[in-house]
C-alpha cells in the first residue's frame, strides 16, 4: 500500500503533474482521507471559487498550471475542495481533463462500463422481432409477446440479478438455474467450473465479438457475486464472492485493454489464462471441500 503523502513532490511543476491524475482519477478519496488527517475540514474553509479566484476557467481548460504554488497548497490544506475541484473539471466537457483521465483508470473503466451495458442490451436482441407482414391475429399475438419481451428486457436491464428473476438463457455462468439447483458444495463449485469452461467453446473472430464475449463472462461474475448460493456455507460463499470480484476486475482490465487498442490475440490469450486459472481455483476448492 502506498501512502500518497509520502510521494507528494516539493517542486511546484512536479506537484501539478502529480496532482492532476489524482483529480481526474479514481484514487482521489484515498488522498483526501490522508490529507484530512493532517488538515481536518473546518466550517470556515474557503469555497473552491475563493481558492481558484479568477483562474477557474483556465483550470478547466488548461489544468492546474494556471494556479500559483500557494493556491495549489491551499487546495491540499482543504481536502474537501479537491472533491469540488474534481466535480468541476470532470463535469465540464474539457478536452484537457479528458486527456488526463485517459492516463488513469477512469477512462478505461468508464469505457468498460458502457460496453458491458451495451453487450447486455445487444444480448437481448433476439427477443425483439418485426411483426410486419403478419395476419391480424398473429399481429395481436406477436404484439403481446413483444410487449412481454420488452418488459422482460426492461426488468433485466434495471434489476438484472434480482434473486427471483429468471435470467435469460445464456452460456457459462449466465445459464438459467446454474445457481439455484440443490446440490452439495462440491458439486456446486464443480458445476461453476464446468460453466466457466464454456468460455472456450467459441473463439471470437473480431475485437467486437471478443468484447461482447468478455462482457458476457463479466456479467456471469456478477451473477455469482450477487447470487445466493444456497448450498454453500457462509465461509465458502465469502471465498467464492471474493474470488469472483478479483476475476471480475481482471476481466474488466482485459475489456479496457481491448478498447484501448490492444490486439485481439493478446487480449484473447490473457483472458483464456484468467478463465483457466479461475476454473482451476474452483476445482481445487471443490476438492478441498471434498
Amino acid at each position: 500500500m502506498n501512502l500518497h503523502l509520502a510521494e507528494l513532490p516539493d517542486d511546484p511543476n512536479e506537484l501539478v503533474r502529480w496532482l492532476e491524475p489524482k483529480i481526474a482519477g479514481l484514487d482521489l478519496p484515498e488522498l483526501v482521507a490522508e490529507l484530512g488527517v493532517l488538515f481536518p475540514p473546518t466550517s470556515s474553509a474557503p469555497k473552491l471559487s475563493d481558492l481558484l479566484g479568477r483562474h477557474t476557467s483556465a483550470v478547466v481548460s488548461d489544468g492546474l498550471t494556471a494556479l500559483s504554488e500557494p493556491q495549489l497548497r491551499s487546495l491540499l490544506e482543504h481536502p474537501n475542495r479537491l472533491f469540488d475541484l474534481q466535480q468541476l473539471v470532470l463535469g465540464e466537457d474539457s478536452p484537457y481533463w479528458h486527456a488526463v483521465g485517459n492516463q488513469t483508470q477512469l477512462g478505461a473503466r468508464a469505457s468498460a462500463g458502457k460496453s458491458r451495458i451495451l453487450a447486455e442490451v445487444h444480448a437481448e436482441k433476439p427477443l425483439a422481432f418485426e411483426p410486419r407482414q403478419t395476419s391480424s391475429f398473429r399481429w395481436t399475438l406477436l404484439s403481446s409477446l413483444a410487449t412481454a419481451a420488452a418488459v422482460m428486457i426492461g426488468v433485466w436491464i434495471v434489476k438484472p440479478f434480482a434473486g427471483s428473476q429468471s435470467p435469460a438463457e445464456g452460456w457459462g455462468w449466465n445459464q438459467s438455474g446454474i445457481l439455484a439447483q440443490a446440490m452439495t458444495p462440491k458439486e456446486h463449485l464443480e458445476r461453476l467450473a464446468s460453466g466457466s469452461d464454456e468460455w472456450f467453446n467459441k473463439k471470437p473472430a473480431s475485437p467486437s465479438e471478443l468484447g461482447v464475449r468478455l462482457a458476457e463472462m463479466r456479467r456471469g461474475c456478477s451473477q455469482l457475486i450477487l447470487g445466493e448460493h444456497p448450498s454453500l456455507s457462509k465461509d465458502q460463499r465469502d471465498w467464492l464472492v471474493g474470488k469472483c470480484k478479483e476475476w471480475a476486475a481482471k476481466l474488466d482490465q482485459q475489456l479496457a485493454a481491448l478498447e484501448s487498442g490492444a490486439s485481439l490475440e493478446e487480449v484473447q490469450k490473457n483472458s483464456d489464462e484468467i478463465v483457466r486459472k479461475l476454473a482451476t481455483a474452483l476445482r481445487n476448492k471443490a476438492k478441498e471441500i471434498g
Binding site: L28, L38, I117
Partner: protein
Amino acid sequence: MAAMEPSITTPESSSPVLSNETWGELYERFGRYVLAILRRYVSPVDLDDVAHDFWCHVREKFTDSFKSGDVKAWIATSASRKGLDWAKRKRPERLSEDRDVARGPRGGVLEGLIHTEEERRRATALSNCMESLSADERSLLAERIAGKKSAQIAAARGVTPASEAKEFFNVKSRLQDCVGRAME
C-alpha cells in the same frame, strides 16, 4: 462559466426507456463524471457494479424523472444519492471510537469526508502512525505539505537545510512503513 450541455431530447414514444443513441450520448458526456462521484462513496472493488446499476437506472428512469433544466445537476444529484445509499448499506461495524479516526474524538470531523471502509482504514492507520511521531516531526510534515520551504523551516529550527531535508525524508519513510504494516 457556461456549461456546454448536450441537448438531450427524449423520444416521443410510449416506452420510457431511453434509446441506445440518447443513452450513449449521456454516457459519453457524463460517464467519467458519474464514476468519480460514485467513487467518493463506493469502494473500488464495487464501483463498476454500482455504476452499472446507476446507468441502467438512468436508461429506465431518465425520461420519467428528468423533465427540464440542468442535465448535469440531475446526473450529479442522482449519482450522489446512489453512492450515499450504497455507503449507508455497506457501512460496517465501526471500530471502537478511540481507534476510528472518522468517529473518535480527534477525528470526528472526517465523518463527512470519508465514506468507504478502505479510506476509513487508511485514515485511521495514518492517524495512529502520526501519534508515533514527535510534535516537531508532525509539524515538519504539515509545514512541508502546506508549502513552506525547506530553507525557511531549517532556519526556524536552527539546522541546516540538508539536515531538515533528511529529517523530512525519514519522517515520510517511517510513516509509509507504519501505514503499510497497519494496512496489511
